[in-house]
């Protein structure tokens, strides 16, 4: 089959490439329908990665968040037209201790190899989930991002002690919103505190018990456990504030991506006996957990619909540029691409 890919060849430059691809009999052929831009895609698009990284990874088709339609399942288990969400992390080996998204040999779409800006894509049958029922497909388009929060929460459940009465989330962006929302769904009786820097964005977290500006934190004992969803230049201040105000023996989940090395107050980490753990990406089980909560709790789906900031119809390369430009102007919410190219 001749497939058409839309690859980033240099920052701000997308070129068409045709590729003859074999039709693997053990994989499901999909047609991407709705795609969603991630911050990582924007960093590639805008050339905010180091020249070495860009040189190593480009040309590459961007986007790893997508909702797709089944075109052909050689086994006939998934009828044509079924809406699914493929998992962009593709392991090449299995390890009994290390999850698939942490194995260095795993491939990740729009990072190690081509993402979903393609006419058709193949997905291994065990690396896709059905799009959650009763959920807007535009929300399913970023199920991957939801699964990243689900993954961080699953790790938290394995690592953190059992007193989970006060949970705090630092970050008033998309990841903070989703993580806080899932914590609300999984821990309805816990006190949920969200901390951020923009009052307008904080006001969107209506499901939280407390919404605080980071400058207004006065206590030294704010929460039992904390999630960092800040990343970037703000990661340093956020993590150190978390270390200051979390209760002793608390677990501190790090989700924010930063291009910088971050200085942290290790003295206080030792003094309080804190557990810091990182989370990155997700695996099939996390996709399934994210889909399950969307199906079970309609409030979660509704709250995620508010995250759909704009839907851009894409029929040409010019439309892809338009979508990235609009997304760059958006400081909250997701840009979804209606993939009609």
């Amino acid at each position: 089959m001749i497939n058409v890919l839309y690859r980033l060849t240099a920052p701000g430059m997308i070129e068409l490439a045709c590729e003859e691809q074999a039709m693997p009999v053990d994989q499901v052929l999909l047609r991407p329908v709705l795609l969603s831009i991630c911050k990582a895609d924007q960093r590639y698009y805008q050339g905010q990665r180091s020249p070495e990284v860009l040189k190593a990874k480009l040309p590459m088709a961007l986007i790893h968040e997508c909702c797709a339609e089944v075109v052909n399942d050689p086994r006939g288990e998934l009828p044509a037209g079924t809406l699914v969400v493929p998992v962009p992390n593709l392991p090449t080996q299995i390890d009994p201790y290390i999850a698939e998204n942490y194995l260095p040999a795993s491939k990740f779409r729009s990072s190690g190899f081509d993402g979903y800006l393609q006419e058709y894509v193949y997905a291994p049958r065990d690396h896709l989930v059905c799009a959650p029922r009763n959920t807007l497909p535009e929300v399913s388009a970023f199920l991957e991002l939801i699964s990243v929060s689900a993954h961080a929460i699953s790790r938290f459940e394995r690592i953190a002690h059992q007193r989970r009465e006060r949970l705090a989330v630092w970050g008033d962006g998309n990841v903070g919103y989703i993580t806080a929302l899932l914590l609300r769904a999984f821990y309805p009786n816990a006190e949920l505190i969200v901390l951020g820097t923009v009052f307008e964005k904080l006001s969107l977290f209506s499901f939280a018990d407390r919404r605080m500006h980071v400058d207004d934190v006065r206590t030294k004992n704010l929460c039992d456990h904390a999630f960092e969803c800040v990343g970037g230049a703000g990661a340093r201040a956020a993590i150190n504030q978390m270390i200051d105000v979390i209760a002793p023996e608390g677990a501190l989940s790090l989700l924010g991506v930063s291009e910088n090395f971050v200085d942290i107050n290790t003295r206080m980490v030792l003094e309080k006996g804190l557990r810091l753990f990182g989370s990155s990406r997700s695996g099939t089980a996390d996709f399934a957990r994210a889909a399950e909560i969307l199906e079970r709790d309609p409030h979660v789906g509704q709250a995620l619909e508010r995250l759909v900031a704009q839907v851009v119809r894409v029929r040409s390369i010019a439309d892809i540029h338009k979508a990235f430009a609009l997304d760059a102007q958006q400081n909250f919410g997701k840009t979804v691409l209606e993939w009609q190219i």
């Binding site: 001749i2 058409v4 045709c18 047609r31 075109v71 037209g81 006419e119 009609q340 190219i341």
Partner: protein, 236 residues
């Protein structure tokens, strides 16, 4: 029902030293025709695919498409004849329901995209007929005698026709039946039949890379599009 008819009528005279019709030449690991058929077979909205080719090449084509379930039919002497055969087959095999859509496509345009196919279907359902075009980049000149320019149309009004061309089958059949013998002889393009009878033909945006592989030069372009290097191409 959405039916795609792939016209593989080439007899292979323009591709240089090969006697093989150009639709059967290898592009990458498969013949051009197979690539083209695959694009329609995997399109979620296309329900049936048929291939029409010269009688002498029917069994050869069947061998190439074995296992796909795609019937191979005899083409006509002219493009219109091939079109008529496709219409006759679809009427006999699938009936003459009003909502039948026939997508006609050149076998030697393997780079057609799912968007182009999808938009053809939409346009034919809405308007009755459509043609796939791209804006002309060269100035088009018209000449009656091949010696002097007769006229130069304004470029912004000019487009280059590609395929697919897609129609509501009943409407197409009716218009073809209305043609006189003289009209049939000069009409080499199905969309022109619609225009000539005052019927609307919608334009679907094509793609520059939806090339027709006619000359050896086109083959080189097609190989380059697929990222096949010259040495690999020569080895094929």
């Amino acid at each position: 029902m959405i039916i795609a008819a792939i016209f593989a009528g080439g007899n292979g005279s323009r591709m240089g030293n090969s006697n093989l019709p150009k639709q059967f030449l290898m592009l990458g690991t498969k013949p051009i025709l197979v690539h083209t058929v695959e694009k329609f077979l995997i399109h979620p909205r296309v329900e049936r695919v048929i291939v029409l080719c010269p009688r002498a090449w029917m069994s050869y084509t069947e061998d190439l498409l074995v296992g796909t379930g795609v019937p191979v039919l005899e083409g006509g002497e002219t493009r219109n004849g091939t079109l008529q055969n496709a219409l006759d087959y679809t009427a006999a095999a699938f009936g003459t329901q009003e909502d039948h859509i026939l997508i006609t496509h050149d076998a030697v345009r393997p780079f057609v995209t799912q968007r182009i196919i999808g938009e053809n279907i939409n346009a034919a359902l809405e308007h009755g007929a459509c043609d796939t075009v791209i804006p002309a980049t060269d100035t088009i000149v018209q000449s009656e005698d091949g010696v002097y320019i007769f006229t130069i149309p304004e470029r912004r009004t000019c487009y280059q026709g590609q395929t697919p061309q897609t129609f509501r089958t009943n409407k197409l059949r009716k218009l073809i039946e209305s043609l006189t013998d003289t009209e049939s002889e000069i009409l080499t393009d199905a969309c022109k039949i619609f225009s000539m009878r005052g019927e609307p033909v919608a334009m679907v945006q094509g793609e520059i890379h939806n090339i027709k592989i006619t000359y050896p030069y086109d083959m080189k372009v097609a190989q380059a599009l697929l990222g096949i290097h010259l040495e690999e191409a020569e080895a094929q």
